[in-house]
């Protein structure tokens, strides 16, 4: 494998953002009985972004 290609291990170190791309941004959207703002993924990602930015600033 070319050294420029990084291959991530299959589990354990999966990035949360990669996971959320798939769990929130893809997958079948079934309207469940409990409907939440999750239907509006953008809202969640915006909130998440704000949260993470806060976390990162706290780390500094």
């Amino acid at each position: 494998m070319n050294p420029a290609t990084e291959v991530m291990p299959p589990s354990g170190s999966t990035s949360l953002v990669d996971l959320l791309d798939r769990l929130l941004g893809a997958g079948i959207v079934l309207s469940g009985d409990i409907t939440i703002a999750l239907a509006d993924v953008d809202l969640v990602t915006i909130k998440l972004r704000a949260l993470l930015t806060t976390v990162q600033e706290d780390d500094r």
Binding site: M1, N2, A4, T5, E6, V7, M8, P10, S11, T14, S15, L16, V17, D18, L19, L20, D21, R22, L23, L24, G25, A26, G27, I28, V29, L30, S31, G32, D33, I34, T35, I36, A37, L38, V44, K47, L48, R49, L51, L52, T53, V55, Q56
Partner: protein, 252 residues
């Protein structure tokens, strides 16, 4: 347990493998609810954690979100390693088993068709970043000559970074097209924001490919080859994933 609801992970054929020893997002046994040719992989959850108001609150709690996302993923992974699944979006919740069954009814034909398309195939993620992040050493030195020369150096550096993002974006298009030809299906996610990933490099491609399990090695070789011949972008391969990015289109 207080009042409960049913958390849905994925759809599968009812005549296939059934989970027996997995625990769900709320530590209850993972089971299936079946009707006709379809099963839904579910577990019981408490409304204290997964009711409408609780979810609103919990989804903004990063630790809760991460724990639940990883648990959801672990269950879908475990099922995908034994049977063909169509993953559902995280936090799809019904009041009870009957409500789950009523949702499966009517979508059976379409789901069975999609499951057939997903059989024996995995999702692989390919991200392309623009070059390496500029190291501290490549930053212009403090002004030795004049302020004007220093500013010029800064402008040159910004131009170089802009050029490298453009070059990487062009490479990413070539990489995407070449890999799409080697995959059954391709999907583009939005490139991730560096503030979320903590990576200083600019992401120019965030793609997913559905690949025959038997073709996985060839696909990896193609990724490595493209990564070598397209030096402007650095490539990150992730997977195998359950086919999260290839199950849209139902009930939308």
């Amino acid at each position: 347990m207080s009042e409960s609801a049913v958390y849905m992970y994925a759809l599968a054929r009812s005549d296939g493998w059934q989970p027996t020893s997995l625990r769900g997002v709320d530590d209850q046994p993972v089971r299936t609810v079946s009707t006709g040719p379809l099963s839904c992989i579910v577990s019981t959850v408490s409304l204290d954690q997964f009711g409408e108001q609780a979810l609103q609150r919990n989804l903004e709690d990063l630790a809760w979100l991460e724990r639940t996302a990883r648990q959801h993923d672990a269950i879908v992974h475990a099922c995908a390693s034994r049977t063909t699944v169509m993953p559902l979006r995280m936090a799809t919740i019904c009041a009870d088993d009957d409500s789950v069954r009523s949702r499966l009814t009517g979508m059976a034909d379409q789901v069975v068709e999609t499951l057939a398309q997903l059989e024996g195939r995995d999702e692989w993620g390919v991200k392309v970043f623009a070059g390496e992040s500029p190291s501290a050493d490549s930053r212009p030195r403090p002004p030795r000559t004049s302020g004007t020369a220093y500013l010029q150096q800064l402008r040159d550096q910004r131009a170089r970074i802009g050029d490298s993002v453009e070059a990487a974006a062009r490479d990413a298009e070539v990489i995407f097209a070449a890999l799409r030809d080697r995959a059954v299906l391709a999907h583009r996610h939005r490139p991730q924001d560096g503030r979320l990933t903590g990576d200083a490099r600019t992401m120019v491609l965030n793609a997913a490919f559905l690949v025959d399990r038997e073709e996985a090695a060839k696909f990896h070789d193609a990724v490595a080859e493209l990564s070598g011949s397209r030096p402007a972008g650095s490539v990150v391969l992730t997977g195998p994933w359950p086919p999260y990015s290839f199950t849209t289109g139902v009930d939308r």
